[in-house]
Amino acid sequence: MEHYYQPEIECASREEILKLQNERLVKQVKHVYDNVPYYRNKMEEAGVSPEDIRSVEDLHKLPFITKDDLRDAYPYGLLAVPLKDCVRIQSTSGTTGRRVVAFYTQHDIDLWDDCCARAIMAAGGTNEDVVHVSYGYGLFTGGPGLNGGSHKVGSLTLPMSSGNTDRQIQFMCDLGSTILCCTPSYAAYLGETINEKGLKDKIRLKAGIFGAEAWTEEMRRDIEKSLGIKAYDIYGLTEISGPGVSFECSEQTGMHINEDHFIAEIINPKTGEVLPEGEKGELVFTSITKQAFPLLRYRTRDICVLTRKKCSCGRTHVKMTKPMGRSDDMLIIKGVNVFPSQIETVLLNKGYAANYQIIVDRINNSDTLEVQVEMTSEMFSDSVSEVSRKEKVLVDALKSMLGIYAKVKLVAPKSITRSEGKAVRIIDKRNLYQ
Protein backbone atom coordinates (compact mmCIF):
# COMPACT_ATOMS: atom_id res chain seq x y z
CA MET A 1 0.00 0.00 0.00
CA GLU A 2 1.24 3.44 -0.93
CA HIS A 3 1.70 5.86 1.97
CA TYR A 4 1.53 9.63 1.55
CA TYR A 5 2.45 12.35 3.99
CA GLN A 6 0.35 15.07 2.35
CA PRO A 7 -1.84 13.24 -0.21
CA GLU A 8 -3.93 16.31 -1.06
CA ILE A 9 -0.77 18.03 -2.34
CA GLU A 10 1.27 15.05 -3.50
CA CYS A 11 -1.59 13.75 -5.62
CA ALA A 12 -3.16 17.09 -6.60
CA SER A 13 -4.23 17.66 -10.20
CA ARG A 14 -1.87 19.47 -12.58
CA GLU A 15 -4.24 22.47 -12.55
CA GLU A 16 -4.14 22.67 -8.77
CA ILE A 17 -0.36 22.44 -8.69
CA LEU A 18 -0.01 25.09 -11.38
CA LYS A 19 -2.43 27.41 -9.59
CA LEU A 20 -0.41 27.05 -6.39
CA GLN A 21 2.85 27.64 -8.26
CA ASN A 22 1.52 30.75 -10.02
CA GLU A 23 0.34 32.35 -6.78
CA ARG A 24 3.45 31.48 -4.86
CA LEU A 25 5.86 32.51 -7.61
CA VAL A 26 4.33 35.98 -7.98
CA LYS A 27 4.50 36.50 -4.23
CA GLN A 28 8.04 35.13 -3.97
CA VAL A 29 9.43 37.31 -6.76
CA LYS A 30 8.06 40.38 -5.00
CA HIS A 31 9.52 39.21 -1.66
CA VAL A 32 12.97 38.73 -3.20
CA TYR A 33 12.83 41.98 -5.19
CA ASP A 34 11.87 43.95 -2.08
CA ASN A 35 14.36 42.34 0.30
CA VAL A 36 17.41 41.18 -1.67
CA PRO A 37 19.21 44.15 -3.28
CA TYR A 38 21.68 41.76 -4.92
CA TYR A 39 18.90 40.05 -6.91
CA ARG A 40 16.98 43.30 -7.46
CA ASN A 41 20.06 44.64 -9.25
CA LYS A 42 20.20 41.52 -11.39
CA MET A 43 16.52 41.94 -12.30
CA GLU A 44 17.02 45.58 -13.13
CA GLU A 45 20.00 44.75 -15.30
CA ALA A 46 17.84 42.20 -17.11
CA GLY A 47 15.07 44.79 -17.44
CA VAL A 48 12.54 42.71 -15.49
CA SER A 49 10.26 44.02 -12.78
CA PRO A 50 8.11 41.95 -10.37
CA GLU A 51 5.01 43.01 -12.34
CA ASP A 52 6.34 41.16 -15.38
CA ILE A 53 6.07 37.85 -13.55
CA ARG A 54 2.41 36.94 -13.47
CA SER A 55 2.65 33.16 -13.77
CA VAL A 56 5.07 30.25 -14.23
CA GLU A 57 4.96 31.06 -17.96
CA ASP A 58 6.95 34.21 -17.20
CA LEU A 59 9.61 32.44 -15.15
CA HIS A 60 12.08 32.37 -18.06
CA LYS A 61 12.29 36.18 -17.93
CA LEU A 62 14.07 36.09 -14.57
CA PRO A 63 17.87 36.06 -14.41
CA PHE A 64 19.68 32.95 -13.16
CA ILE A 65 21.50 32.61 -9.85
CA THR A 66 24.73 30.63 -10.02
CA LYS A 67 27.25 29.36 -7.52
CA ASP A 68 29.36 32.43 -8.38
CA ASP A 69 26.52 34.63 -7.15
CA LEU A 70 26.44 32.70 -3.88
CA ARG A 71 30.16 33.30 -3.54
CA ASP A 72 29.92 37.01 -4.41
CA ALA A 73 27.02 37.52 -2.03
CA TYR A 74 28.58 35.49 0.81
CA PRO A 75 27.46 35.39 3.55
CA TYR A 76 24.38 37.64 3.87
CA GLY A 77 23.90 39.03 0.34
CA LEU A 78 21.03 36.73 -0.63
CA LEU A 79 19.29 36.75 2.73
CA ALA A 80 15.67 37.92 2.35
CA VAL A 81 14.60 38.30 5.99
CA PRO A 82 16.19 39.97 9.03
CA LEU A 83 18.73 37.70 10.74
CA LYS A 84 16.61 37.71 13.90
CA ASP A 85 13.96 35.75 12.00
CA CYS A 86 16.42 32.98 11.08
CA VAL A 87 16.78 29.92 13.27
CA ARG A 88 19.34 27.77 11.42
CA ILE A 89 22.33 27.80 9.13
CA GLN A 90 23.46 24.84 7.01
CA SER A 91 26.50 24.82 4.79
CA THR A 92 28.21 23.09 1.93
CA SER A 93 31.54 23.53 0.19
CA GLY A 94 31.85 26.13 -2.55
CA THR A 95 33.94 26.43 -5.66
CA THR A 96 37.09 28.08 -4.41
CA GLY A 97 37.06 27.04 -0.82
CA ARG A 98 34.51 29.59 0.23
CA ARG A 99 31.58 27.76 1.65
CA VAL A 100 27.95 28.18 0.70
CA VAL A 101 25.81 29.08 3.70
CA ALA A 102 22.03 28.80 3.63
CA PHE A 103 19.68 30.36 6.17
CA TYR A 104 16.36 29.02 7.40
CA THR A 105 13.43 30.48 9.29
CA GLN A 106 11.29 28.08 11.34
CA HIS A 107 8.86 28.06 8.41
CA ASP A 108 11.70 27.02 6.07
CA ILE A 109 12.76 24.19 8.39
CA ASP A 110 9.15 23.03 8.55
CA LEU A 111 8.74 22.85 4.80
CA TRP A 112 12.08 21.09 4.44
CA ASP A 113 11.03 18.56 7.09
CA ASP A 114 7.72 18.10 5.25
CA CYS A 115 9.61 17.27 2.05
CA CYS A 116 11.71 14.69 3.89
CA ALA A 117 8.58 13.29 5.56
CA ARG A 118 7.10 12.75 2.09
CA ALA A 119 10.26 10.86 1.09
CA ILE A 120 10.14 8.65 4.17
CA MET A 121 6.46 7.80 3.67
CA ALA A 122 7.06 7.13 -0.04
CA ALA A 123 9.62 4.57 1.11
CA GLY A 124 6.88 2.95 3.21
CA GLY A 125 7.59 4.74 6.48
CA THR A 126 4.91 5.26 9.13
CA ASN A 127 4.81 6.16 12.82
CA GLU A 128 5.54 2.50 13.56
CA ASP A 129 8.97 2.64 11.95
CA VAL A 130 12.40 3.12 13.45
CA VAL A 131 14.28 5.51 11.19
CA HIS A 132 18.03 5.04 11.43
CA VAL A 133 19.76 8.23 10.21
CA SER A 134 23.42 7.61 9.39
CA TYR A 135 23.91 10.78 7.39
CA GLY A 136 26.29 13.21 9.02
CA TYR A 137 24.72 15.69 11.43
CA GLY A 138 26.02 19.22 11.62
CA LEU A 139 26.49 21.71 8.81
CA PHE A 140 25.78 18.97 6.27
CA THR A 141 22.05 18.85 5.49
CA GLY A 142 21.75 15.05 5.30
CA GLY A 143 21.35 14.28 8.99
CA PRO A 144 19.18 17.24 10.05
CA GLY A 145 16.89 16.85 6.99
CA LEU A 146 15.99 13.19 7.41
CA ASN A 147 15.87 13.63 11.17
CA GLY A 148 13.26 16.37 10.82
CA GLY A 149 11.29 14.37 8.27
CA SER A 150 11.23 11.34 10.51
CA HIS A 151 9.86 13.45 13.40
CA LYS A 152 7.08 14.74 11.15
CA VAL A 153 6.10 11.20 10.19
CA GLY A 154 6.13 10.30 13.87
CA SER A 155 8.67 7.53 13.40
CA LEU A 156 11.08 6.68 16.19
CA THR A 157 14.22 8.51 15.10
CA LEU A 158 17.73 7.21 15.69
CA PRO A 159 20.12 10.12 15.14
CA MET A 160 23.18 7.93 14.59
CA SER A 161 25.16 10.30 12.37
CA SER A 162 27.99 8.84 10.29
CA GLY A 163 30.85 6.54 11.27
CA ASN A 164 31.42 3.91 13.97
CA THR A 165 30.04 1.04 11.90
CA ASP A 166 30.07 -1.49 14.76
CA ARG A 167 27.83 0.73 16.86
CA GLN A 168 25.57 1.40 13.86
CA ILE A 169 25.04 -2.33 13.39
CA GLN A 170 24.58 -3.01 17.08
CA PHE A 171 21.86 -0.35 17.36
CA MET A 172 20.28 -1.65 14.19
CA CYS A 173 20.05 -5.12 15.73
CA ASP A 174 19.14 -4.09 19.28
CA LEU A 175 16.63 -1.36 18.46
CA GLY A 176 15.12 -2.88 15.34
CA SER A 177 15.80 -0.11 12.81
CA THR A 178 13.44 -0.48 9.85
CA ILE A 179 14.44 2.39 7.56
CA LEU A 180 18.06 3.30 6.92
CA CYS A 181 19.04 6.79 5.70
CA CYS A 182 22.64 7.33 4.54
CA THR A 183 24.80 7.64 1.44
CA PRO A 184 24.50 4.67 -0.94
CA SER A 185 28.19 3.85 -0.54
CA TYR A 186 27.82 3.66 3.22
CA ALA A 187 24.71 1.50 2.82
CA ALA A 188 26.73 -0.87 0.64
CA TYR A 189 29.49 -0.95 3.23
CA LEU A 190 27.02 -1.61 6.05
CA GLY A 191 25.48 -4.40 3.97
CA GLU A 192 28.84 -6.04 3.43
CA THR A 193 29.82 -5.77 7.08
CA ILE A 194 26.47 -7.13 8.30
CA ASN A 195 26.83 -10.13 6.00
CA GLU A 196 30.44 -10.72 7.02
CA LYS A 197 29.39 -10.75 10.65
CA GLY A 198 26.53 -13.10 9.82
CA LEU A 199 23.99 -10.67 11.31
CA LYS A 200 21.58 -10.42 8.39
CA ASP A 201 18.94 -12.41 10.30
CA LYS A 202 19.21 -10.02 13.23
CA ILE A 203 18.35 -6.83 11.34
CA ARG A 204 14.78 -5.73 10.59
CA LEU A 205 15.43 -3.18 7.86
CA LYS A 206 12.79 -2.99 5.12
CA ALA A 207 13.79 0.14 3.23
CA GLY A 208 16.61 2.60 2.73
CA ILE A 209 16.66 6.22 1.58
CA PHE A 210 20.00 6.93 -0.03
CA GLY A 211 21.32 10.14 -1.51
CA ALA A 212 23.97 12.85 -1.47
CA GLU A 213 26.01 11.06 -4.12
CA ALA A 214 25.49 9.43 -7.48
CA TRP A 215 24.83 5.71 -7.61
CA THR A 216 23.98 3.25 -10.31
CA GLU A 217 21.13 0.77 -10.77
CA GLU A 218 23.68 -1.98 -10.30
CA MET A 219 24.61 -0.55 -6.91
CA ARG A 220 20.92 -0.37 -6.02
CA ARG A 221 20.49 -4.07 -6.75
CA ASP A 222 23.58 -4.92 -4.68
CA ILE A 223 22.36 -2.94 -1.68
CA GLU A 224 18.82 -4.30 -1.94
CA LYS A 225 20.20 -7.82 -1.98
CA SER A 226 22.77 -7.47 0.77
CA LEU A 227 20.43 -5.70 3.21
CA GLY A 228 17.21 -7.38 2.05
CA ILE A 229 15.48 -4.03 1.55
CA LYS A 230 14.01 -1.76 -1.08
CA ALA A 231 16.41 1.10 -1.80
CA TYR A 232 15.05 4.56 -2.64
CA ASP A 233 16.90 7.52 -4.10
CA ILE A 234 16.59 11.02 -2.68
CA TYR A 235 17.90 14.27 -4.12
CA GLY A 236 18.51 17.73 -2.78
CA LEU A 237 20.96 20.52 -2.34
CA THR A 238 21.72 22.88 0.48
CA GLU A 239 21.15 25.94 -1.69
CA ILE A 240 17.52 24.93 -2.24
CA SER A 241 16.93 23.37 1.24
CA GLY A 242 18.63 20.01 1.54
CA PRO A 243 17.61 16.39 0.89
CA GLY A 244 14.00 15.97 -0.12
CA VAL A 245 13.84 18.46 -2.98
CA SER A 246 12.86 15.30 -4.84
CA PHE A 247 12.47 11.67 -3.84
CA GLU A 248 11.69 8.27 -5.25
CA CYS A 249 8.38 6.40 -4.89
CA SER A 250 7.59 2.69 -5.12
CA GLU A 251 7.92 2.78 -8.91
CA GLN A 252 11.65 3.59 -8.59
CA THR A 253 11.79 5.24 -12.01
CA GLY A 254 12.78 8.76 -11.08
CA MET A 255 12.30 11.24 -8.26
CA HIS A 256 9.16 13.33 -7.71
CA ILE A 257 10.08 16.99 -7.28
CA ASN A 258 8.09 18.73 -4.56
CA GLU A 259 6.52 21.16 -6.98
CA ASP A 260 4.47 23.01 -4.41
CA HIS A 261 7.79 24.31 -3.04
CA PHE A 262 10.22 24.19 -5.97
CA ILE A 263 9.63 24.92 -9.64
CA ALA A 264 11.95 22.90 -11.86
CA GLU A 265 13.15 23.85 -15.34
CA ILE A 266 15.58 22.18 -17.72
CA ILE A 267 17.82 24.53 -19.66
CA ASN A 268 20.53 24.31 -22.26
CA PRO A 269 23.62 24.86 -20.08
CA LYS A 270 25.39 26.76 -22.89
CA THR A 271 22.65 29.15 -23.97
CA GLY A 272 20.42 29.26 -20.89
CA GLU A 273 17.39 28.58 -23.10
CA VAL A 274 14.54 26.59 -21.52
CA LEU A 275 14.15 23.13 -23.04
CA PRO A 276 10.88 21.26 -23.56
CA GLU A 277 9.87 18.35 -21.31
CA GLY A 278 11.79 15.16 -21.99
CA GLU A 279 14.98 16.85 -23.15
CA LYS A 280 18.22 16.45 -21.35
CA GLY A 281 19.75 19.56 -19.83
CA GLU A 282 20.72 21.42 -16.70
CA LEU A 283 18.27 21.42 -13.82
CA VAL A 284 17.23 24.85 -12.51
CA PHE A 285 15.20 25.40 -9.33
CA THR A 286 13.08 28.28 -8.15
CA SER A 287 12.17 28.16 -4.52
CA ILE A 288 8.63 29.53 -4.12
CA THR A 289 7.91 29.06 -0.43
CA LYS A 290 11.16 29.63 1.42
CA GLN A 291 11.47 32.87 3.36
CA ALA A 292 15.10 33.27 4.43
CA PHE A 293 17.13 32.07 1.46
CA PRO A 294 14.78 31.94 -1.51
CA LEU A 295 16.80 31.37 -4.67
CA LEU A 296 15.13 32.14 -7.98
CA ARG A 297 16.26 30.16 -11.02
CA TYR A 298 19.25 28.59 -9.29
CA ARG A 299 21.44 26.63 -11.69
CA THR A 300 22.20 23.27 -10.04
CA ARG A 301 24.75 22.19 -12.72
CA ASP A 302 23.16 18.73 -12.53
CA ILE A 303 22.21 17.32 -15.92
CA CYS A 304 18.95 15.37 -16.04
CA VAL A 305 15.59 14.88 -17.74
CA LEU A 306 12.10 15.79 -16.43
CA THR A 307 8.98 13.77 -17.13
CA ARG A 308 5.31 14.28 -16.32
CA LYS A 309 4.24 10.79 -17.36
CA LYS A 310 1.60 9.36 -15.04
CA CYS A 311 3.19 7.52 -12.16
CA SER A 312 1.76 4.30 -10.74
CA CYS A 313 2.27 5.56 -7.17
CA GLY A 314 -0.49 8.14 -7.63
CA ARG A 315 1.73 11.18 -7.14
CA THR A 316 1.33 13.86 -9.76
CA HIS A 317 4.48 15.89 -9.22
CA VAL A 318 7.01 15.99 -12.04
CA LYS A 319 9.76 13.37 -11.94
CA MET A 320 13.46 13.91 -12.59
CA THR A 321 15.93 11.24 -13.57
CA LYS A 322 19.02 10.60 -11.48
CA PRO A 323 21.59 13.25 -12.39
CA MET A 324 23.36 12.04 -15.56
CA GLY A 325 26.37 14.29 -15.19
CA ARG A 326 27.41 17.82 -14.36
CA SER A 327 27.66 20.94 -16.46
CA ASP A 328 30.63 22.01 -14.33
CA ASP A 329 33.57 20.02 -13.03
CA MET A 330 32.27 19.38 -9.52
CA LEU A 331 32.87 15.89 -8.16
CA ILE A 332 30.88 14.31 -5.39
CA ILE A 333 33.20 12.14 -3.34
CA LYS A 334 31.91 10.37 -0.23
CA GLY A 335 28.93 12.73 -0.43
CA VAL A 336 31.20 15.77 -0.28
CA ASN A 337 31.34 18.35 -3.07
CA VAL A 338 34.86 18.67 -4.44
CA PHE A 339 35.95 21.15 -7.07
CA PRO A 340 39.28 20.68 -8.88
CA SER A 341 39.87 24.41 -8.34
CA GLN A 342 39.98 23.79 -4.56
CA ILE A 343 42.75 21.24 -5.06
CA GLU A 344 44.56 23.61 -7.38
CA THR A 345 44.40 26.39 -4.79
CA VAL A 346 46.04 24.16 -2.17
CA LEU A 347 48.78 23.04 -4.56
CA LEU A 348 49.63 26.59 -5.56
CA ASN A 349 49.57 27.78 -1.95
CA LYS A 350 52.01 25.03 -1.00
CA GLY A 351 54.39 25.92 -3.82
CA TYR A 352 53.58 23.11 -6.23
CA ALA A 353 53.07 23.51 -9.95
CA ALA A 354 49.49 23.38 -11.20
CA ASN A 355 50.24 20.13 -13.01
CA TYR A 356 48.09 17.63 -11.26
CA GLN A 357 45.61 14.88 -11.90
CA ILE A 358 42.69 13.74 -9.80
CA ILE A 359 41.89 10.04 -9.77
CA VAL A 360 38.54 9.12 -8.27
CA ASP A 361 37.58 5.51 -7.82
CA ARG A 362 35.18 3.40 -5.83
CA ILE A 363 36.90 0.52 -4.08
CA ASN A 364 34.80 -1.84 -1.95
CA ASN A 365 31.90 0.60 -2.36
CA SER A 366 33.85 3.43 -0.85
CA ASP A 367 35.03 6.45 -2.81
CA THR A 368 38.75 7.11 -3.01
CA LEU A 369 40.47 10.30 -4.05
CA GLU A 370 44.06 10.43 -5.22
CA VAL A 371 45.83 13.61 -6.23
CA GLN A 372 48.85 13.03 -8.43
CA VAL A 373 51.33 15.86 -8.31
CA GLU A 374 54.42 16.26 -10.43
CA MET A 375 57.63 16.41 -8.41
CA THR A 376 59.54 19.67 -8.64
CA SER A 377 63.17 20.54 -7.87
CA GLU A 378 62.05 22.70 -4.95
CA MET A 379 60.09 19.81 -3.48
CA PHE A 380 62.77 17.21 -3.95
CA SER A 381 65.19 16.16 -1.26
CA ASP A 382 67.75 13.40 -0.93
CA SER A 383 66.02 12.30 2.26
CA VAL A 384 62.95 10.04 2.10
CA SER A 385 61.69 11.35 5.43
CA GLU A 386 61.94 14.94 4.22
CA VAL A 387 59.93 14.17 1.07
CA SER A 388 57.37 12.26 3.16
CA ARG A 389 57.10 15.19 5.54
CA LYS A 390 56.31 17.57 2.66
CA GLU A 391 53.81 15.06 1.32
CA LYS A 392 52.10 14.98 4.72
CA VAL A 393 51.86 18.78 4.83
CA LEU A 394 50.07 18.63 1.48
CA VAL A 395 47.73 15.83 2.62
CA ASP A 396 46.79 17.87 5.70
CA ALA A 397 46.18 21.02 3.69
CA LEU A 398 43.95 19.12 1.25
CA LYS A 399 42.02 17.56 4.12
CA SER A 400 41.44 20.95 5.66
CA MET A 401 40.26 22.43 2.34
CA LEU A 402 38.10 19.53 1.15
CA GLY A 403 36.97 17.97 4.40
CA ILE A 404 37.94 14.50 3.16
CA TYR A 405 41.18 12.55 2.91
CA ALA A 406 43.03 12.66 -0.37
CA LYS A 407 45.99 10.42 -1.01
CA VAL A 408 48.87 12.33 -2.53
CA LYS A 409 51.02 10.57 -5.10
CA LEU A 410 54.22 12.25 -6.24
CA VAL A 411 54.94 11.45 -9.87
CA ALA A 412 57.76 12.19 -12.28
CA PRO A 413 57.85 15.61 -13.93
CA LYS A 414 55.95 15.87 -17.22
CA SER A 415 54.40 12.45 -16.63
CA ILE A 416 50.87 13.81 -16.43
CA THR A 417 49.29 13.69 -19.86
CA ARG A 418 48.77 17.01 -21.50
CA SER A 419 46.23 17.16 -24.27
CA GLU A 420 46.54 20.18 -26.51
CA GLY A 421 48.49 21.97 -23.83
CA LYS A 422 45.73 21.55 -21.28
CA ALA A 423 46.10 18.85 -18.69
CA VAL A 424 43.44 16.16 -18.28
CA ARG A 425 42.66 16.85 -14.66
CA ILE A 426 40.03 14.34 -13.66
CA ILE A 427 39.88 10.62 -14.14
CA ASP A 428 36.68 9.30 -12.59
CA LYS A 429 36.77 5.51 -12.71
CA ARG A 430 33.45 5.10 -10.93
CA ASN A 431 31.24 5.31 -14.07
CA LEU A 432 28.41 6.70 -12.00
CA TYR A 433 26.44 8.29 -14.76
CA GLN A 434 24.77 5.75 -17.00
Binding site: S377, F380, S381, D382, S383, S388, V411, A412, P413
Partner: protein, 143 residues
Protein backbone atom coordinates in the same frame (compact mmCIF):
# COMPACT_ATOMS: atom_id res chain seq x y z
CA UNK B 1 86.67 15.51 2.72
CA UNK B 2 83.48 14.58 0.87
CA UNK B 3 82.27 13.23 -2.44
CA UNK B 4 79.25 14.45 -4.38
CA UNK B 5 76.36 12.05 -4.63
CA UNK B 6 73.58 12.64 -7.14
CA UNK B 7 70.06 11.84 -5.92
CA UNK B 8 67.34 11.34 -8.52
CA UNK B 9 63.55 11.17 -8.09
CA UNK B 10 62.17 8.05 -9.75
CA UNK B 11 58.52 7.15 -9.94
CA UNK B 12 57.84 3.62 -8.74
CA UNK B 13 56.68 1.92 -11.94
CA UNK B 14 57.86 -0.90 -14.20
CA UNK B 15 60.70 0.17 -16.49
CA UNK B 16 61.43 3.39 -14.63
CA UNK B 17 64.95 2.44 -13.62
CA UNK B 18 65.67 0.93 -17.03
CA UNK B 19 64.78 4.22 -18.72
CA UNK B 20 67.07 6.06 -16.37
CA UNK B 21 70.05 3.78 -16.95
CA UNK B 22 69.45 4.04 -20.68
CA UNK B 23 70.04 7.78 -20.44
CA UNK B 24 73.29 7.11 -18.55
CA UNK B 25 74.40 4.56 -21.09
CA UNK B 26 73.62 6.79 -24.08
CA UNK B 27 75.70 9.55 -22.53
CA UNK B 28 78.58 7.29 -21.63
CA UNK B 29 78.20 7.89 -17.92
CA UNK B 30 79.86 5.33 -15.70
CA UNK B 31 78.44 4.70 -12.25
CA UNK B 32 80.80 3.92 -9.42
CA UNK B 33 78.07 3.08 -6.96
CA UNK B 34 74.30 3.03 -6.77
CA UNK B 35 71.59 2.53 -4.20
CA UNK B 36 67.81 3.02 -4.09
CA UNK B 37 65.68 4.17 -1.18
CA UNK B 38 62.11 3.21 -1.92
CA UNK B 39 58.62 4.11 -0.72
CA UNK B 40 55.39 2.58 -2.09
CA UNK B 41 55.06 5.39 -4.64
CA UNK B 42 58.51 6.61 -5.50
CA UNK B 43 62.19 5.90 -5.10
CA UNK B 44 65.23 8.05 -4.54
CA UNK B 45 68.11 6.76 -6.59
CA UNK B 46 71.54 7.66 -5.27
CA UNK B 47 74.58 7.38 -7.48
CA UNK B 48 78.27 8.17 -7.37
CA UNK B 49 79.85 9.11 -10.71
CA UNK B 50 83.16 10.51 -11.93
CA UNK B 51 81.92 13.67 -13.56
CA UNK B 52 79.20 15.16 -11.40
CA UNK B 53 78.68 18.34 -13.41
CA UNK B 54 78.30 16.54 -16.71
CA UNK B 55 75.95 13.97 -15.20
CA UNK B 56 73.76 16.63 -13.59
CA UNK B 57 73.47 18.47 -16.92
CA UNK B 58 72.50 15.25 -18.68
CA UNK B 59 69.91 14.39 -16.03
CA UNK B 60 68.31 17.82 -16.13
CA UNK B 61 68.18 17.76 -19.88
CA UNK B 62 66.44 14.39 -19.75
CA UNK B 63 63.82 15.90 -17.43
CA UNK B 64 64.82 14.21 -14.18
CA UNK B 65 64.50 15.93 -10.83
CA UNK B 66 67.84 15.57 -9.08
CA UNK B 67 70.03 17.12 -6.45
CA UNK B 68 73.60 16.87 -5.19
CA UNK B 69 74.38 15.78 -1.64
CA UNK B 70 77.79 15.72 -0.01
CA UNK B 71 78.55 12.31 1.48
CA UNK B 72 81.63 10.54 2.87
CA UNK B 73 83.44 7.76 1.01
CA UNK B 74 85.44 5.56 3.37
CA UNK B 75 87.99 2.99 2.32
CA UNK B 76 87.49 -0.22 4.28
CA UNK B 77 90.09 -3.00 4.35
CA UNK B 78 88.53 -6.23 3.14
CA UNK B 79 88.77 -8.09 6.43
CA UNK B 80 86.33 -8.86 9.27
CA UNK B 81 85.79 -6.05 11.75
CA UNK B 82 86.81 -3.12 9.53
CA UNK B 83 83.32 -1.74 9.13
CA UNK B 84 82.68 -2.19 12.82
CA UNK B 85 85.70 -0.01 13.55
CA UNK B 86 84.44 2.85 11.37
CA UNK B 87 80.94 2.69 12.81
CA UNK B 88 82.23 2.52 16.37
CA UNK B 89 84.26 5.69 15.85
CA UNK B 90 81.21 7.52 14.50
CA UNK B 91 78.96 6.21 17.25
CA UNK B 92 81.32 7.15 20.02
CA UNK B 93 81.58 10.65 18.58
CA UNK B 94 77.79 10.89 18.61
CA UNK B 95 77.55 11.23 14.84
CA UNK B 96 74.33 9.87 13.38
CA UNK B 97 74.32 7.77 10.25
CA UNK B 98 71.34 8.38 7.99
CA UNK B 99 72.11 5.76 5.35
CA UNK B 100 75.03 3.96 3.80
CA UNK B 101 75.90 1.62 0.95
CA UNK B 102 78.99 -0.20 -0.24
CA UNK B 103 80.84 -0.70 -3.50
CA UNK B 104 84.06 -2.31 -4.64
CA UNK B 105 86.45 -1.42 -7.43
CA UNK B 106 89.20 -3.15 -9.36
CA UNK B 107 91.42 -2.41 -6.41
CA UNK B 108 91.80 -5.64 -4.47
CA UNK B 109 91.65 -5.96 -0.68
CA UNK B 110 89.54 -2.88 -0.11
CA UNK B 111 85.85 -1.99 -0.30
CA UNK B 112 84.30 1.46 -0.11
CA UNK B 113 81.41 2.63 2.03
CA UNK B 114 79.33 5.70 1.24
CA UNK B 115 78.15 7.27 4.48
CA UNK B 116 75.50 9.95 4.83
CA UNK B 117 75.98 11.51 8.27
CA UNK B 118 74.58 14.55 10.02
CA UNK B 119 77.97 16.30 10.33
CA UNK B 120 80.47 15.77 7.50
CA UNK B 121 83.22 17.96 8.95
CA UNK B 122 83.27 16.39 12.35
CA UNK B 123 83.00 12.88 10.90
CA UNK B 124 85.98 13.55 8.62
CA UNK B 125 87.91 14.82 11.64
CA UNK B 126 87.28 11.83 13.92
CA UNK B 127 87.70 9.21 11.20
CA UNK B 128 91.02 10.74 10.11
CA UNK B 129 92.13 10.91 13.75
CA UNK B 130 91.59 7.16 13.98
CA UNK B 131 93.52 6.51 10.81
CA UNK B 132 90.51 5.62 8.71
CA UNK B 133 91.04 6.56 5.09
CA UNK B 134 88.57 8.81 3.26
CA UNK B 135 88.40 9.35 -0.49
CA UNK B 136 87.52 12.71 -2.09
CA UNK B 137 85.89 13.44 -5.45
CA UNK B 138 89.23 13.34 -7.30
CA UNK B 139 89.98 10.07 -5.59
CA UNK B 140 86.69 8.62 -6.85
CA UNK B 141 87.61 9.55 -10.43
CA UNK B 142 90.96 7.79 -10.08
CA UNK B 143 89.44 4.55 -8.75
Amino acid sequence: MTVQQISVFLENRPGGLAEFTKVLSENNIDMRAMCIAETPDFGILRIIVDDVYNTMCTMKEAGYICSVTKVLAVEIPDKPGSLLRTLTVLGESNINLEYSYAFTTRKKDVAYMILRVNDNERATEVLTEHGIKLVDQDGISRL
